[in-house]
Each structure stands twice: as structure tokens, then as C-alpha cells.
């Protein structure tokens, strides 16, 4: 007898998507704006996050989750800002998923926060498939890693809401070509929003904070910025 075909038509990551949807609702109810950061290892996620927490902490209520395969070095580093930070150690898993985020938030009063930042594991491939319930997915690209990264890792750049080019103070030393980078970004996602920053020199950081403020204000008034 020939086998019977059972039609399914369901997303393989449906379970993750359901948890992400639940998180998104929890975040909306709590009025907290959630930003995730993704990039290759060493592009400057922790440096950008550290400076962001430090600068926002005096005027906003901020907290962060940081994902790494091993160690809590990033969490320790970031706690210097005074903001609450929790480390998610993934072991051998190369990305965060919505359940890890949900577990890590256990016991936190989200209603007492304005911003929650989620730093993903340094990886441009795997995090692309997993919705974390965030409002804004930010992909970082440093000037030292090659302008063609968006062509090599199209999915993460196609699913991001904002690209931040980091270490812009090193642009000329690295021979960075902004036109090439912009072209590669446009190939991955036409009209993707792009900021250029240097955490070290402060260049472009006002744009970054402006973008965060506008996005959060947009969420609270129901407008998408």
C-alpha cells in the first residue's frame, strides 16, 4: 500500500514564533521598548550597548540581556553602567531564541523599564531565523570587516530594521568605502535605514540616541518610526 499524504503547512519555527508573539504582547503591555543587537563577533555590540546603557541610565530606566556561548564577561562589563544586566549562556547554541529570552526575563518587572536591550550571540547567520519579540532589530557592521558583509549574509540584513556601521573613526585606516557598503546594504534590503557611529570618538552617537528616542515615542503613540 502506498503511504498516505498528511498535509501540514506549518512554520517549522512556529513554537518560537508563538513565544515571540507572546513576548511582544508582554512588552507592549509593560510599555517597554525592546531593541536587539546582532552582528559578527567583534563588530562592537558590547561597546555600543555599554555606552548606550551608560548614557541612558541617568534619564531612562534601562536593562539588558546578553547572549554568549560561554562566560559572563559581557554581563560583568555592562553592569558597570549601573543598569541591571543578565547573561544568557547558550552553551553550544549559536543564537538566542524566544524561549531563552522569556526564561531570562523571569522575575523582572518589565513595567518599570523604558528600554530593554538584547545582545545576541555574535553570529550573522543563525539569529536571523529567530524572532525574539523585539521592536527593533539592529544589525551592526564594523568598518574593519569588509563592505560586502551584507552580500555574504543577506538574511540577517534583510530582516533588520536598522543597520549601524560601527568604528567609523577607523574608516580611513581600514580603507573603508561607504559607497560600496551602502550598495551592499541596498542589495540586501533596499532603503534600509543606516547610521554611522563611533563609540570611541562619539561621532554619530547623537543620531543613534535620537533614533532610539523617536522609535520609543512612536511605539507609545502607536506610530511606527
Amino acid at each position: 500500500m502506498s503511504p498516505r499524504i498528511v498535509e501540514i503547512r506549518e512554520a517549522i519555527l512556529k513554537k518560537n514564533d508563538l513565544v515571540a508573539r507572546r513576548l511582544r504582547q508582554v512588552f507592549a503591555d509593560a510599555g517597554v521598548y525592546v531593541v536587539s543587537l546582532v552582528s559578527s563577533p567583534g563588530a562592537g555590540k558590547t561597546a555600543l550597548l555599554g555606552e548606550t546603557l551608560r548614557r541612558l541610565a541617568p534619564t531612562c530606566r534601562v536593562a539588558a540581556l546578553v547572549g554568549d556561548l560561554a562566560t559572563d564577561h559581557d554581563a560583568v562589563r555592562l553592569r558597570a553602567s549601573g543598569a541591571p544586566v543578565r547573561q544568557i549562556t547558550t552553551g553550544t547554541v549559536c543564537h538566542l531564541d524566544a524561549e531563552m529570552v522569556e526564561r531570562a526575563l523571569d522575575g523582572w518587572d518589565l513595567g518599570s523599564l523604558d528600554f530593554l536591550f538584547i545582545e545576541n550571540v555574535g553570529n550573522l547567520v543563525c539569529p536571523a531565523s529567530y524572532d525574539l519579540g523585539e521592536d527593533l532589530r539592529v544589525v551592526l557592521l564594523s568598518v574593519t570587516e569588509g563592505e560586502d558583509k551584507p552580500e555574504k549574509y543577506p538574511t540577517i540584513f534583510a530582516t533588520a530594521d536598522l543597520a549601524v556601521i560601527t568604528k567609523i573613526d577607523l574608516a580611513s585606516a581600514a580603507g573603508y568605502d561607504d559607497v560600496l557598503a551602502r550598495r551592499a546594504l541596498d542589495g540586501a534590503q533596499p532603503d534600509l535605514d543606516v547610521l554611522r557611529v563611533s563609540v570611541k570618538s562619539g561621532l554619530g552617537m547623537a543620531d543613534w540616541f535620537g533614533r532610539l528616542d523617536a522609535a520609543r515615542a512612536g511605539k507609545r503613540t502607536g506610530l511606527r518610526v
Binding site: R4, V6, I8, K14, C94, C126
Partner: protein, 120 residues
């Protein structure tokens, strides 16, 4: 390389649906994988063999339909199949931000042998 995580999700979902469908042996698992999904079909096949070991799915064939990237070209006012992951119309070169297909990560069907019990 998150294909193992994806394969484990495939096994979980397919096991659940196979049980609901009567618990017969699953001969094949059909998936649709988009070219822009970030998942590599060959790596997924390999990972599925590992992930399905000692589960009701052990021994099932994995049948993958690779879905090319398709987008709407605003200038041609038509759907276009793209040659690569650069989101530009292959005919006129316009940017094509509106994706129609290519992000799929989908379990489409199971082939179930009703008269044969599942392995486990």
C-alpha cells in the same frame, strides 16, 4: 550553523502531527526551504539524520523543496524570480524590497504508512 536546531524543531513538530494523524510510520517529511531563509538544505539533511535518531521519525526521508527568491518589481509591476539574494529586478535593475517568496521554513506534509507502527 543552526541547522541542528532547525532539524530538532522539524522532528518535534512532525512527531506531534504524525501522532495526531494516527501514529503510523512516517516514511517521508516534506519541507519548503526558501533561498533567503538562512538555512542550507544539505546541512539540514545531515542534521535531520542526527536529530531524528531514536525518535518516531528515525529512518524517514527528508524531501526538501528549495524555494527561489521572488519579489514584486514596482517598475515592471510584476513578480520576478531573482537570480541571487541581491534584491534587484533581473529585468530592469530596480530595487525590489517587497519579497513574495524566499523566506520559507515550512513543514508542508508527511507521508504516513498507516498499517505499520511507528518505530517508537
Amino acid at each position: 550553523m543552526h541547522e541542528l536546531s532547525i532539524a530538532l524543531s522539524v522532528v518535534d513538530l512532525a512527531t506531534e502531527r504524525a501522532r495526531e494523524a494516527g501514529g503510523g510510520r512516517v516514511e517521508a517529511v516534506h519541507l519548503r526551504i526558501g533561498a533567503l531563509s538562512g538555512v542550507v538544505s544539505d546541512a539540514l539533511r545531515f542534521a535531520f539524520d542526527v536529530a531524528s535518531r531514536d525518535t518516531p521519525l528515525e529512518g524517514a526521508r527528508l524531501v526538501i523543496e528549495d524555494v527561489p527568491i521572488a519579489a514584486f518589481c514596482p517598475r515592471c509591476r510584476a513578480e520576478r524570480t531573482l537570480r541571487d539574494s541581491r534584491l534587484r529586478c533581473p529585468n530592469c535593475g530596480s530595487p525590489t524590497p517587497d519579497l513574495i517568496r524566499g523566506m520559507e521554513l515550512e513543514l508542508t506534509a508527511l507521508e504516513v504508512e498507516d498499517d505499520v507502527p511507528a518505530y517508537r
